[in-house]
Amino acid sequence: MHIPDGILPAQVCVGGYAIAGGVTWYVLRRIRQVSNPTEEIPKAAMLAAAFFIGSSINIPVPPVSIHLVLNGPLGVVLGWYAWPAILIGLFLQAVLIGHGGLTTLGVNAVMMGIPALIGFQVFKLRHQVGKGWSMTQSVGVFAFLAGAIALGLAALIFFGLIVFTIPAELNVLEERSALTALMIAHIPLMFIEGIFTLMLALFLLRVKPNLLDNPG
């Protein structure tokens, strides 16, 4: 899912950085308004590590091979902190294991981070929509939705970015069909990440429910 260097035109990379810069400013402002960063950073650090490792876990979905993204779980557990955690995770992935790239850091952050923040908002809907339900039900259902939606959105952004920037010298049809195969492989991943988010949220609900209450 990470876009490496040299795939996207320079304007798109610059645009990615510009959007990522704007989001970072907004998210940091929200973080300062709603919480005490010193208390939340350990949690964010742990999940940044999980995010870092997640992309090294390959899942074969023939004919392609995909990897976990875990942006949904980060949104659910970290709230606004998901953004800086993803940004740092992506930076470390680019520098240490060559996953993604430095020119595409902004684009990748937008691609995975914004869906994570949307996942966070989806998870918060449990307070309104899931009012009459039991705690386990509302947390479970909305965690699943948050995980699946965050991954699905990230995959859609990836698809859009690549499909609209295929260079003319490539065989466009061939690239499109390869891309479509990759996108179809992400449908099962939506369920896998949704279920992972659900299990993580239910586990936290049992052992430390206050971790799930991100002010927002």
Partner: protein, 154 residues
């Protein structure tokens, strides 16, 4: 562009020559065709994903040293992620391999005569051990940060 690629391969093999003949339209076969061959140096690349899986049918573009904007050879990797081209001039050849938004650009220095310069070494990537150590270090760094802040709270 594809034809150019085909020509590059016949340089070395009879099989390529047959492929060229078969590729001609029926009308043209009636006319005399001469196929010449010569031995040439070719460069073979192999593209694999970092999971170890070969990049099958990935699109390859090869740019000659004197023109970095128009691909000189265009083709696809085979089912083992390999692609062969015969450089016809010395200099830095740029090869772009790409599939479904994933890919890489490498520069291969070629000497006159078509051999890869001796100074060139393949990017071996990271061994699983290196990856493991790095992942462990980063994880521990994050856990350490967490422990540090936890201690501060007590």
């Amino acid at each position: 562009m594809h034809e150019r690629n085909g020509l590059a391969i016949i340089g070395g093999s009879l099989l390529g020559a047959i492929a060229l003949l078969a590729g001609l339209p029926p009308g043209a076969r009636a006319h005399g065709v001469s196929v010449q061959s010569r031995t040439t140096n070719a460069v073979e690349i192999q593209a694999v994903y970092d999971s170890g899986k070969p990049m099958e049918n990935a699109q390859v573009q090869v740019y000659a040293p004197d023109d970095p904007s128009t691909p000189y050879f265009v083709g696809q990797t085979d089912n083992r992620g390999r692609f062969v081209f015969a450089p016809d001039q010395a200099g830095d050849w740029e090869i772009s391999v790409r599939q479904a938004g994933h890919g890489k650009i490498v520069v291969i220095p070629v000497e006159s005569g078509g051999a890869i310069a001796e100074t060139f070494t393949n990017d071996a990537g990271l061994t699983p051990l290196q990856r493991g150590v790095m992942a462990g270090a980063v994880t521990w760094g994050c856990v350490g940060t967490a422990l540090y802040f936890r201690r501060g709270k007590v």
